[in-house]
Point group: C2
Chain length 233, copies 2
Amino acid sequence: EVPDIVAAIGAALGDGPLTGRHAIVTSGPTHEPIDPVRYIANRSSGAQGAAIAAALRDLGARVTFVTGPAAVPPPEGVAVTRVETAREMAEAVAAAHPADVAVFAAAVADWRVENAAAEKMKKGTGGLPVLAFAENPDILADVAKMSEGRPALVVGFAAETEDVVAHARAKLDRKGCDWIVANDVSPETGIMGGAENAVHLVTATGVEDWPRMAKGEVARRLASRIAAELGTG
Amino acid sequence: EVPDIVAAIGAALGDGPLTGRHAIVTSGPTHEPIDPVRYIANRSSGAQGAAIAAALRDLGARVTFVTGPAAVPPPEGVAVTRVETAREMAEAVAAAHPADVAVFAAAVADWRVENAAAEKMKKGTGGLPVLAFAENPDILADVAKMSEGRPALVVGFAAETEDVVAHARAKLDRKGCDWIVANDVSPETGIMGGAENAVHLVTATGVEDWPRMAKGEVARRLASRIAAELGTG
């Protein structure tokens, strides 16, 4: 669309609405090892996170893109840090500050396997496995609650399979972030791994229900809203 | 190589050494759901299984290729059945008989999550998850021990991270299969997900240590050995 083209040209010329701003974007799943060959994963393709990073780049932002093992390649023109586990992602995010905005689009595993094995677990020797879990760092809450150097805008994602908006509102309060982009990832929606997304933008003041649209369009809308919020759009 | 080319031409003309024979090949990882978005996976790319299916096809075999969610696409010219879980793979294999040879190259999860949740598990509501596991069907042993209609040759794989040959010999005895193709998948070998493989072919009568070579070459050697064993090579 014309405004996007104008914005992209502006960014290329060094005067996009987010020129001089630094954005951190996380994307993709995390993998939590069980042993050297097995791991716990999730169905995030990384498509939405990659599109958001590209859209922020197109508005002139310098983007640090922290990605788990995603199916979708990272966009060009962003600084990519590849990680596997939630703890690695937390470290990479911590190393990326200061930033003006942080968008946590990754589907981070809430738990890791505390008793991950150094050698492949064998069938039959000891019967069924007993996995002990430990909570992973809460990257969104940790950044949202930074006492010094907090990004001006902290955006979380909520991938839900039921009561999407109610869960997102509760998450906004619990995490202390500014916005939650919430969506329904029930298998029947086809959103996880698909090309489209239908999101609700939950803020302190209300909820916007965006119609189902291409993930690239969700990204461009979100990037425009971010630029407006930072007073640059 | 010239013998391969001759074989491929022969197969195309309908007189390859395995023409008229039916091969079942499994490949790739399985994914075992935890809830609608999380699952347990493993690092199999499906590259070795796909290469074996292609090599058997090139010798004239009709190939049923049962594949989990692999990173590598299935070869052309084989009948593909896509599955996700070990139980789905077992059903697809059971439906594919009778066969002259079965090659179980898939990295099948030994266990599934017995208490997999229909809705996404929430962080904080109930603390850490408790996953109860159940044993998956043992596809290799079930086929190797068929009382009627057993394939003449049943080949298993053993991906190990220590004591590779000893574990493979024990697996051969325990499963009742004819051959085990064993390899070391320790992360430092780079074999899982890589282009090469270094295998040991364990049979009732001995062990052959094959040098490290491209996965396609491992596949062609194995297919030639299969044709010889079936009295057609």
